[in-house]
């Protein structure tokens, strides 16, 4: 077990990769609560791959990763994991994103037992034709619930119009139609490929003793037979730079129209992690709460609330999405594009953003949830956990920001306006 100090959180990190490939991260933190996540690097992006033991690639129905997240809770002996955690006074849950599926619990007591159960239930699910069918009605309601949220509808349409092939085009949960075709066999194919310990990691944060937790995980995993695996072969799609549809107006029952704009940026020949950070600075300066544009449009009563900004990676592209409520969406779109054509950044602004990033680390270090989510996101985006995030933040500078931002173009964009009929 390796011990390192996380400077930015002022906490220690204990790590070990077990013989079966599972990476275990433990961060003891004073307090009562314990939060544990068991994560597979498998999300809705991983829809075309070569299944374990096969030669040909397989295309999964839309929404399988999320469907699987629901069904992993199904156990052969019929015990409901929720009942187990309730009995131990803990909360359990799970979620699926583009990049990963995460199973979790939080609770201050019976920690080792809870961790072991987390490993056991995720590593031993039981799918039948019957329990797969039963879940369809539940997920159908989940999809419909999100469809009824105007921003969700706008967001999904905007992604659909921005990409031609990349899976970011489609909703994580799929559609009512796509999930109706999912079978038990699909679930096992995806499960067997992506739920091998070598594609997973466990992160435990909170009031724990790292030695006893690591020991308990080691023993638990040693009891299970996992064969050595090579890397998973995922099929990358060839996504062009152009967007599927540049502009579209859709209708919905909304009082104030909503605008969403996606800028699709080719980042193939650049350091994507650094560019993503600089784009986040840049979009925040242009549209965030300290921007002149926001101030002016508020004064003109052209926007309600503020702009929300979302920066994502999709293959070789980085996507910057900006959305806002606006009574004059066409005008706001025009103003946004004018604003973004000015690529000036000042040294003062870069320094201010660096200060806020460092402060954010300290805020996060007060919460077991934030610490855990942060290190998990490090693992998913950078492949390892930052031991000293301050020095990473310090490495950002005006010269590099200017150079990177000057190289990119905002010409490939797609916008969607949601309005009343």
């Amino acid at each position: 077990m390796e011990k390192n100090h996380l400077k930015h959180f002022d906490l220690d990190l204990y790590q070990e990769t077990l013989p079966n490939g599972l990476l275990v991260n433990i961060i003891p933190k004073p307090g009562n609560n314990v939060y544990a996540t068991f994560v597979t690097k498998y999300g809705s992006f991983d829809n075309v791959f070569v299944p374990q033991g096969k030669k040909k690639s397989y295309e999964a129905p839309m929404g399988v990763a999320h469907f699987l997240e629901h069904k992993v809770f199904e156990q052969k002996d019929g015990e409901d994991p929720f009942a187990f955690y309730t009995k131990n006074g803990a909360d359990a849950n799970a979620s699926t994103s583009y990049l990963r599926t995460c199973y979790l619990f939080s609770g201050p007591e019976h920690v080792e037992e809870n961790i072991e159960y987390l490993l056991d239930f995720v590593q031993n699910p039981y799918f039948t034709d019957e329990n797969v069918e039963k879940e369809k009605g539940i997920i159908e309601q989940e999809i419909k619930m999100y469809d009824d949220i105007p921003y969700w509808k706008l967001y999904e349409k905007n992604l659909f119009n921005t990409f031609l092939k990349h899976p970011l085009r489609y909703p994580i949960a799929g559609t009512v139609e796509s999930i109706s075709k999912i079978t038990k066999e699909d679930l096992y194919t995806c499960y067997d490929t992506f739920y091998h310990p070598s594609n997973m990691f466990l992160t435990v944060v909170g009031n724990v003793n790292p030695d006893t937790v690591m020991d308990c995980v080691r023993k638990n995993q040693a009891k299970k037979n996992y064969e050595k695996r090579g890397p998973i072969i995922r099929k990358e799609v060839e996504e062009p730079d152009r967007v599927f549809k540049k502009q579209e107006e859709i209708v919905g029952d909304v009082e104030i129209p909503k605008l969403s704009v996606a800028y699709k940026i080719n980042a193939q020949d650049m350091d994507k992690n650094r560019l993503r950070n600089y784009l986040s600075f840049f979009f925040d300066l242009r549209f965030g709460s300290t921007s002149l544009l926001r101030e002016r449009l508020k004064r003109e009563n052209a926007i309600t609330g503020g702009f929300s900004i979302d920066i994502m990676e999709a293959g070789k592209h980085i996507l910057c999405m900006v959305s806002v409520d606006s009574k004059k969406p066409e005008y706001v779109l025009e103003e946004m594009n004018k604003e973004i054509s000015d690529k000036t950044i000042t040294a003062l602004e870069v320094e201010r953003k660096k200060k806020t990033l460092k402060s954010a680390c300290i805020y996060q270090s007060d919460s077991v949830y934030s610490i855990c989510d942060h290190v998990n996101s490090n693992l998913l985006h950078y492949g390892s956990i930052f031991l000293d995030e301050y020095s990473w933040i310090d490495s950002f500078c005006l010269e590099e920001a200017e150079e990177m931002i000057s190289k990119i173009t905002f010409e490939h964009q797609s916008s969607v306006i949601l309005k009343r009929k």
Binding site: F160, I250, V251, K355
Partner: protein, 429 residues
Amino acid sequence: MKYHKIEKTNYHLHVIETDKFKTVFVRVNFKRKLVKEEIVFRNMLVNVLFESTAKYPTKRLMEIQTEELYELGYRGSNYASGKYSIMGLDAIFLNPKYTEKGMLEESFAFLGEILFHPNVDKDGFAQEGYNIARHSLEDYLDSLKENPDSYAHMRLLEEMEPNTVLSYRGCGYPEDLKKVTRKKLYQYYQKVLKEDAVDIFVIGDVKAKEVEKLIEKYYPFTTRNYQSDSHFYQALKVHENVLFRKEEADLKQSKLLIGCQIKKATDFELRYVLNVLNYILGGSPNSKLFQNVREKNSLCYSISSSSQPLVSILTIKAGINAWEYDRACALILEQLEDIKNGKFEDKEIENAIITYKNSLKSYEDNPESMISLYAGVEYLQADTMENRIKKIEKVDRESVIALAAKIKLDTIFFLEGKEEYGKESFETF
């Protein structure tokens, strides 16, 4: 952890000294009786105060200053606490140990600037900030239906008992907003500073004495604290025959809401037994509603119950297909009947008690939760953490059944989705 309550003539200061957090959390609460017409005034007031100040005349300048203060977070909110309305202004910032010397004072001063030095001219609050605050509230009042869950909940309460504290809309009403002007709002602000009861809560690695000095320096309160009545409210009328109400909406999913009144419950029942009963009925993924309506019958994705002891009600909500209304309704009511008839296991009570105790323990890990806990002691005469842990243990099968007998089904509200599935949106897949 050490709690100090310092009673001043103009306010009460509550300081929770603890080295558990790297942040300092400050909450200034203004409390008065909840009056329908005043709700928009209070919402406007929070919006305007947080839009600009004398020293930082635009939101942008305020935001830049918060970044300079190492990402100080600030916000205001209004909520109904039974018969009372509480306006809370918060600031959260890093302990100066992690930033630089003098930051404690500067951060307290920033919240003081918002509270006591607003951006005003001879006609009241400055025009620009006032306009922005007003547009934002108007737009919010116009778009309530965009969040179907909260809209349906609000409508259920209005059907249960219209025009009382049980159902006043938290955002206020357009007809009341019409009466607000820059001048009247400024007068209301002065009235709040004179008449509301003020409680200041501070939690962090700070000394009560030091905080007291900073408050005296930057928060020149002239309020006069008054004796408060109980916050608890009980609906005056109940529907002898269950009231059914239906409203149509452009939705794919319909929302089924069920409201129950709890008649003449004791203090212990409202504070403790109700919590356990709600947990068994629909407070967790292991609850009767979740297991029977969702897991066994696949009728919904989201289903839960929640209790509001301050107004003596219990509500249930589920998102379903419109055509499955009858089945869902029957199944939900069957779960409630089961509790009345004692059809639940002792184990379920134990689970509820363990969960209650563990969530209290988790409170200690979060500064905001700790403040809520002490605010509960101050406003609602709630028990301290130690006493809550003792009292929850006393809840047993008989007490749950006895409380269930006092729960009366009152209103069923159905927000019926009219949009046919698949007619738009993803036709291109």
